[in-house]
């Protein structure tokens, strides 16, 4: 077992709001190895973004409560003070966000913003920082970096802005790059470019990547390990092959079945997961997916623990159904033409 660069143990994040306590992240655990890509998949309200932002300490505030541990190279980031956390952000963990237009300050030049990131952590002069910035822009595939370094964000296209953001996040060589839905706001051809870019850069910069998205297609391309999140919990966890070829959670089947796929004949009717994601203030008793699950039975009133129920100890799920039952029923959902029972 290789050493885990990042080890998250029983992380819970909740926010006090007017309507009650929102349990955004509930008992989440995972590990990230060097050089690997961890994909976190989920829909709105699944807790994937909150998890990512909590790693960087961006969710800290008067109304936030945390429990559990985030062990980065042995140090628990949850216990690190706000002041000390600054030296981790950008330098050890870099992050890029969904909308590159609003994520860059519109009144400063792109080069200035990257130089600022570099100088925040390293004692280098302006000239050297600028030279590094130009080199970074070149590495992320921006043409004519020497002149474009002085452009403003609105002068860049969406894809180029995202590349600039990636350059900025990698500028201090962080060990982990966290990408929160980096391609969701981009056109599909640009999306392909960015995914390829991240794949290439992770090797060049020797970074590990946490890639958050709701797009299972993108995850299939880039992730090594995958976490499926629902209602703040991890409901399934495993390698790429585990999740796509032997999924154990009916929710995962539902996700896979709901996507109209280009590699298969057209389905008459799309599979749907009926109902809506649950409230995070008053989550349902027992298995959180139970109200929407066509296979629910009596045992589901008790919430399943996240554990491995198959031969592969790395493949975890939260479902009481037997492995045989799953094997025989999941194709109804995932394969085209048939609706789930």
């Amino acid at each position: 077992m290789s050493e885990h660069l990042l080890e998250v143990k029983d992380l819970s994040v909740s926010f006090a709001t007017e309507d009650g306590t929102v349990r955004a992240v509930d008992d989440v655990s995972f590990g990230l190895e060097r050089g690997k890509v961890l994909g976190i998949v989920g829909e709105s309200g699944s807790g994937k973004s909150v998890t990512a932002m909590t790693l960087m300490g961006l969710t800290r505030g008067v109304n936030a409560r945390f429990s559990g541990e985030i062990l980065y190279k042995g140090t628990d980031l949850l216990k690190v003070s706000d002041n000390d956390l600054q030296s981790y952000r950008g330098q050890e963990l870099g992050m890029i966000f969904q909308d590159p237009m609003t994520s860059l300050n519109p009144v400063y030049r792109i080069g200035e913003q990257i130089v600022e990131a570099i100088q925040a952590h390293e004692k280098v002069g302006k000239a050297e920082a600028r030279a590094r910035t130009i080199e970074l822009l070149h590495q992320v595939g921006i043409p004519n970096p020497e002149s474009r370094v002085d452009d403003f964000p609105h002068q860049f296209s969406g894809g180029m802005r995202q590349r600039a953001m990636i350059a900025m996040a990698l500028s201090c060589n962080p060990a982990i790059l966290i990408a929160d839905e980096p391609t969701t706001a981009l056109d599909v051809t640009i999306q392909a470019q960015i995914v390829e870019l991240i794949s290439r850069l992770k090797d060049e910069f020797q970074s590990s990547v946490i890639f958050i998205t709701h797009d299972l297609g993108v995850i299939a391309e880039i992730a090594d390990e995958i976490l499926v999140m629902y209602a703040g919990r991890v409901v399934e966890q495993g390698t790429k092959r585990d999740i796509f070829y032997e999924p154990q959670m009916p929710y995962t089947w539902g996700l896979l079945g709901s996507i109209p796929r280009l590699d298969r004949p057209r389905a008459d009717r799309l599979h749907t997961i009926k109902g809506m994601p649950p409230s995070l203030i008053n989550p349902p008793e027992g298995c959180k997916f139970r109200p929407r699950c066509p296979h629910a039975f009596e045992k589901c009133a008790e919430e399943p623990a996240l554990e491995s129920r198959v031969e592969d100890p790395g493949h975890l799920d939260r479902c009481w159904l037997t492995v045989d039952y799953k094997r025989s029923h999941r194709d109804e959902t995932i394969s085209p033409g048939t609706e789930a029972a």
Binding site: E43, S44, P143, S157, G158, G159, M160, D187, V188, T189, I190, Q191, A192, Q193, V195, E196, H214, D215, L216, G217, V218, I219, A220, E221, K240, R241, F244, Y245, G254, L255, L256, S258, I259, P260, R261, L262, D263, R266, A267, R269, L270, H271, T272, I273, K274, M276, P277
Partner: protein
């Protein structure tokens, strides 16, 4: 599905002026839609696909005369509507409605749901208050909501539910045509499929014709009978849905299909990905000749000089390309805009 064209678009152009100087003179144009022609038959679903800046949303709005066309003709049931005055357009507006992309922005947050859905009825003077309320209740049920939601405000609903409200509003006047501008792009995958199934059910129940604008090729394939691919204001390929995916003719379509990620790791690894270089050029100064030529792997000299015409490659599959893919040299090719073929 009848053969009669419900909507006919002939050489429609929509340019937006770019103004500069003291007198705010027009110095250039954004060629948002540049000579597009096609036909939509009654009862069918035409998918309109392309990336940002291709003009699909502008085209959709121009068909409804939310923008005035710069040139070209639009026919609804054989009647020219591109120049109709407001009064003559009014009864026609009942027949053509639109559903928008952003469920958070397309509903007036200060109005109650019931008001939002009944407004079209009220504006066109249909029924009295009580009757309208009843109709709204029925509409809400049709889209999967409850008549009790009449008095609620949009912010009390989720994205998917708001989209249903938008749909109810569009259906209120029993239109023949609904133009859906990226109706599911902002929704989660599991809600998206609910919405797509609902759209299909409604089409059957109310004999609707759809123009479905989207950038997600998987979604478009699922809902469409025919698909039109746009690039930088031009229609570059028009084909029956299945054939577009099995036999793309225009290299842009090929690249677009290749860029769509497939949720299957083995397949994803094996397939040959064509990753396009660079960004979509500006619609103010589109490239000469074939607009795709700067990014096309197969481009030759003629591509930068002559704009390829839209040619029929059989089976109502049209494409505009000097080096069409997946086509036998001997295949019959007839030039001409699709509108005239019908």
């Amino acid at each position: 599905m009848s053969d009669a064209p419900l909507i006919e678009v002939r050489h429609v152009k929509k340019y937006f002026p770019v103004r500069e100087g003291i007198l705010q003179r027009e110095v250039a144009h954004v060629h948002a839609v540049d000579d597009v022609s096609f036909v939509v038959r009654e009862g069918e679903t035409l998918g309109l696909v392309g990336e940002s800046g291709c003009g699909k949303s502008t085209l959709a709005r121009t068909i409804l005369r939310l923008y005035e066309p710069t040139a070209g003709e639009i026919l609804f049931r054989g009647e020219h509507i591109e120049k109709l005055g407001r009064r003559r357009m009014r009864p026609l507006r009942r027949e053509m409605q639109m559903v928008f992309q952003d469920p958070y922005a397309s509903l007036n947050p200060r109005k109650r749901v019931g008001t939002i859905v009944s407004d079209p009825l009220r504006i066109h003077g249909i029924g009295d208050r009580a009757e309208r309320k009843k109709q709204v209740g029925a509409l809400l049920e049709t889209v999967g909501l409850s008549p009790e939601h009449y008095n609620r405000f949009p912010h009390e609903f989720s994205g998917g539910q708001r989209q249903r409200i938008g749909l109810a509003r569009a259906l209120a006047l029993r239109p023949k045509l609904i133009i859906a501008d990226e109706p599911v792009s902002a929704l989660d995958v599991s809600i998206q499929s609910q919405m797509l199934n609902l759209l299909e059910d409604l089409q059957n129940e109310f004999q609707l014709t759809y123009i479905f604008v989207a950038h997600d090729l998987g979604v478009v394939r699922h809902v469409s009978d025919r698909i039109a691919v746009m690039y930088l204001g031009k229609l570059v390929e028009l084909s029956p849905a299945e054939e577009l995916y099995s036999r793309p003719i225009m290299p842009y379509t090929e690249a677009l299909l290749s860029a769509v990620p497939i949720p299957d790791p083995d397949l994803a690894e094996k397939r040959a990905r064509i990753v396009l270089e660079g960004d979509v050029p500006s619609p103010i100064n589109p490239p000469s000749g074939c607009r795709f030529h700067p990014r096309c792997r197969y481009a030759t000299e003629i591509c930068s000089q002559v704009e390829p015409p839209l040619v029929d490659y059989g089976n109502s599959h049209f494409a505009a390309c000097h080096h069409p893919l997946n086509v036998d040299a001997a295949a019959p090719a007839t030039a001409g805009a699709p509108a005239q073929k019908d």
